[in-house]
């Protein structure tokens, strides 16, 4: 964007420096990034089919391609089940298979448990299994990914909607603002939870339905902040100067008002993000969330509650959620501080040192 500096602008560089100086935020970001990247390739880590294999001299990629059972000496035309002892023995006799470190996917039922499900942590199931015999670790990995992706999309969506609505209300003010405000007030009075529950009985709630419904309401939180910022900024002198220059409203909003309103909005993002995750978890816990069988942390919490004799379920769910949310809050905190102009130290002029002292009220 910048005219003479093709690289990062100084203000961005300074923000990065502030963020980096915050050790907790930096470590959290790294940790979260690693966890998220790992979860993105969850199929390579936890899966019920081998990554690659060789059978009778031919190469196979079961991860990407569905081979029928008949390929490996079976007689069913359906997809091969590599965990089936017959298929496994057949393949291992005529080649080899490379399994992921966790040979279970999130919906794999382990038929060879030596304990009744839920079974405690063993070498086979590092975090034990849930009450249907599914590997908890695999479900946590997939559940983590689902939660984060869900929260990411929801946050981005509500950010766009909220900034748009708040920006228009704040910038134009007057009647637009009045009507917009009343509308958002009424809208925010609608009970989201009940809508979701009603919906759950009407349609099969999948990820997109949930996202859509929650998006209808989650942007309301941002509107007030953005509106206030735009309302304040539209009378600032540099906005007036831009108007006097003849720039059209959309350019003024985009280039002059929005960047300054984003700081206030950014402070909201961590809350929005964690809020999205907790809402999804809560819905799943209550049973109104994702369709049964989906890898969801909320369902794991519910299982922990129903199976108090199997503490690994509750403990795993608790640790996963608290680590994820804490990391996000730390990152959000660091981001907010980095974008806060008061945290940006510029060359101290005597003016700026004298500034904050002008407020005693002793007289």
């Amino acid at each position: 964007m910048s005219l003479f500096s093709p690289t990062l602008s100084p203000i961005t560089r300074r923000r990065l420096a502030v963020f980096r100086a915050n050790r907790r935020a930096r470590l959290s970001l790294w940790l979260f990034a690693v966890l998220f990247l790992l979860s993105l390739v969850a199929e390579l880590i936890a899966n019920d089919r081998p990554i690659v294999m060789q059978y009778q001299g031919d190469w196979y990629l079961p991860l990407l391609v569905d081979y029928p059972d008949t390929e490996f000496g079976g007689f069913l035309p359906s997809a091969a089940d590599y965990r089936d002892p017959y298929v496994r023995d057949e393949i291992e006799a005529n080649g080899w298979m490379l399994w992921p470190p966790i040979p279970f996917s999130y919906e794999t039922l382990d038929m060879e448990l030596d304990h009744p499900a839920p079974s405690p942590p063993t070498l086979r199931h590092w975090l034990g299994t849930d009450d249907q015999g599914r590997d908890v670790l695999a479900r946590v990995i997939y559940g983590f990914r689902l939660s984060v992706v869900f929260a990411l999309i929801l946050t981005a969506g509500s950010l766009v909607l909220g900034v748009l609505a708040g920006g228009i209300q704040g910038y134009f003010g007057g009647k637009v603002d009045l009507i917009g405000q009343r509308f958002t007030e009424i809208w925010s009075g609608l009970p989201m939870l009940f809508l979701l529950i009603i919906l759950a009985s009407l349609v099969e709630p999948n990820l997109w339905w949930l996202l859509g419904i929650m998006l209808l309401f989650s942007w309301l939180g941002i509107v007030d902040v953005v509106r206030a910022e735009f309302l304040r900024a539209r009378n600032l002198e540099y906005v007036r100067a831009a108007k006097a220059m003849g720039l059209p409203s959309r350019l003024i909003m985009w280039r002059h008002v929005l960047p300054n309103a984003m700081v206030a909005t950014l402070t909201f993002i961590p809350f929005l993000f964690t809020g999205a995750i907790t809402t999804l978890t809560a819905l799943d816990f209550l049973g109104f969330g994702l369709p049964p069988g989906s890898p969801s942390l909320g369902e794991l919490v519910a299982q922990g509650k129903n199976n108090l004799q199997a503490p690994w379920l509750g403990i795993t769910a608790f640790i996963t959620l608290s680590v994820m949310l804490s990391l996000l809050v730390f990152i959000g905190e660091g981001l907010r501080d980095a974008f806060d102009p008061r945290h940006i130290q510029y060359t101290a002029s005597p003016d700026s040192t004298a500034g904050p002292t002008r407020k005693p009220r002793d007289a």
Binding site: F4, L236, G246, R255, A354
Partner: protein
């Protein structure tokens, strides 16, 4: 030399290792006013606050400090509380924020009486009333139960003074007590302070940047520059024979000179019966009150290359008039700019015409978007109005303009906060003139700047006008600046034109009382210059 009251010996103040005040020594005697003078950032306020232990904890104050016989360096926290507001009174710059908005006047003044003298109830109320009368507030009885927001700036400053003198302090520290006020009010407040000083035998430490005020209202003066004491002495001597080069620079920094002459041609801008009214809010079930007339209908003409100065105090409608002319606020009447009727245009045609009339605002800190680099700020209008320009041309134009307003070229990629007030104002000028406008509206462009910087900016503006033949609409409350800039002048009061005409004629032979008061309050340097 009267009996010394406040004595500072080699006072030094450092903030996190940065020295802000370096070895300042001064004394304030009983019944005298010492003016502490310097430009912004020279450490004048910091010295006063440091002497009274009012700085935040990251400041380190060293050196001897005495108030009468009390050693201030050895004072306990309890001792300080008794001292401040008791023996030492403070008046701060911002009357708008120095009063608690949630308490009535009676309560706020009564509080200091209760804390320091143990007076409360009826007695405190009586004393408060006396104080309000002492600071010459009319209708003192009514004002007791009034909230700060119901008072004007001058009235609030009087309340602040009443609060400061409530406990009959020996020393009064006035930190730019009149800077936020109109010039005519300024004189009244300072006269009042002098009267109170003589009446109570107080010593007064008067912090200001305005040499005119020093000349008229102080006994001795101490000049500070970047935390270093430049010189101290009797006011008359310092002004007649300044010893330090910096003091000389300050005294010479009065804006001078006159704008280049122009020949009268057909007007570039003409307004007929231009007025602005603001609708007052309507209460439920009541009739809508009459609208507030910010600018009463007036006529205005501006020729190419000419400067029209608009003078008035705060609330006189000068800025509103400018905004109306720029079509940034709703107005009635006709505005004609170079043959086209501005008041009838809207939308795209108006936006395209805006290139030809630009504006520079008062606040150099608020008028530049803090998140854009200077190059973007300056080139924005150019890119919008001339989308056909190539990137290289834009860069060249930006560089040329930066050079023209006297800024180094390497500042293009820097951000506004890296610049001082004067430089920012130059950036604002560059942003306006890069579009090659024919009319430039300057809304108090110099009033937030130090005198020395002000002078440079005025010279730049005059220079630009001579080179480019722009017309200026120059708004200011400062008659010295108007004198240096304007061909013709228009005096506004409460939205009405009080007087208008040729600049010199109006300033030298004002015909109305109001203009005369303005000239008297601010224009003394004018008369001194004409004499010398």
């Amino acid at each position: 030399m009267p009996e010394p009251l406040l004595r500072l010996d080699d006072l030094s103040i450092t903030f996190d290792g940065i020295t802000v005040v370096d070895k300042l020594s001064l004394t304030v005697g009983r019944g005298e006013t010492l003016a502490l003078v310097g430009e912004s950032g020279s450490g004048k306020s910091v010295s006063a606050l440091g002497a009274m232990n009012l700085l935040p904890s990251n400041a380190r104050v060293t050196g001897g400090r005495w108030l009468g016989d009390t050693d201030l360096t050895a004072l306990s926290a309890r001792g300080w509380r008794g001292l401040r507001g008791g023996q030492v009174g403070f008046i701060f710059q911002e009357p708008m924020t120095s009063l608690n908005p949630l308490q009535t006047i009676d309560k706020q003044i009564g509080e200091t009486l209760r804390l320091h003298q143990g007076i409360s109830g009826k007695a405190a109320r009586r004393r408060t009333r006396e104080l309000l009368e002492q600071v010459k507030l009319p209708r003192a009885e009514e004002l007791l139960d009034v909230w700060p927001h119901q008072l004007s700036g001058g009235q609030r400053q009087r309340v602040m003074i009443a609060m400061a003198i409530a406990n009959e302090p020996e020393l009064l520290i006035a930190d730019e007590p009149t800077t936020a006020l109109d010039v005519t009010v300024q004189q009244d407040i300072l006269a009042l302070l002098a009267e109170l000083r003589d009446h109570h035998g107080m010593g007064m430490l008067f912090i200001t940047h305005d040499l005119n005020l020093v000349r008229r209202h102080a006994d001795r003066v101490c000049v500070l520059f970047q935390g270093h004491e430049q010189e101290t002495g009797e006011v008359s001597e310092v002004f007649r024979q300044p010893r330090s080069a910096y003091t000389r620079l300050l005294i010479d920094a009065e804006p001078e000179g006159r704008p280049p002459l122009v020949s009268q041609r057909s007007p570039l801008l003409e307004a007929r019966q231009l007025g602005v009214r603001f609708q007052r809010p309507k209460r439920l079930f009541s009739r809508r009150p009459a609208p507030f007339e910010a600018v009463h209908p007036l006529d205005l003409r501006l020729s190419p290359g000419e400067t029209l100065g608009i003078v008035g105090e705060s609330g006189s409608g000068k800025t509103t008039l400018a905004l109306a002319l720029l079509r940034l606020t709703e107005s009635t009447g006709e505005i004609e700019f170079d043959g086209s009727r501005l008041d009838r245009l809207s939308g795209k045609p108006l936006r395209q015409l805006r290139r030809r009339f630009q504006v520079v605002f008062q606040d150099p800190y608020g008028s530049l978007s803090p998140r854009l680099p200077v190059s973007e700020i300056i080139s924005e209008g150019l890119r919008f109005h001339f989308p056909e320009l190539k990137e290289a041309d834009v860069i060249r134009r930006v560089q040329d303009t930066l050079r023209e307003v006297g800024l180094p070229e390497n500042c293009a990629s820097r951000y506004p906060h890296e610049f001082s007030g004067g430089q920012r104002q130059r950036i604002a000028v560059a942003r306006a003139i890069i579009l090659e406008p024919e009319l430039l509206v300057l809304d108090e462009p110099t009033s937030a700047l130090d005198r020395t910087v002000q002078k440079q900016l005025i010279e730049l503006l005059r220079d630009l006008q001579a080179r480019r033949g722009m017309s200026y609409l120059f708004i200011s409350h400062d008659l010295a600046v108007i004198h240096a800039m304007a061909h013709r002048v228009m005096v506004l009061k409460e939205g009405k034109v009080v007087e208008q005409g040729e600049c010199l004629a109006v300033l030298e032979r004002p015909t109305t009382d109001y203009t005369r008061a303005l000239v008297k309050a601010a224009g003394l340097s004018l008369s001194t210059r004409t004499i010398s």
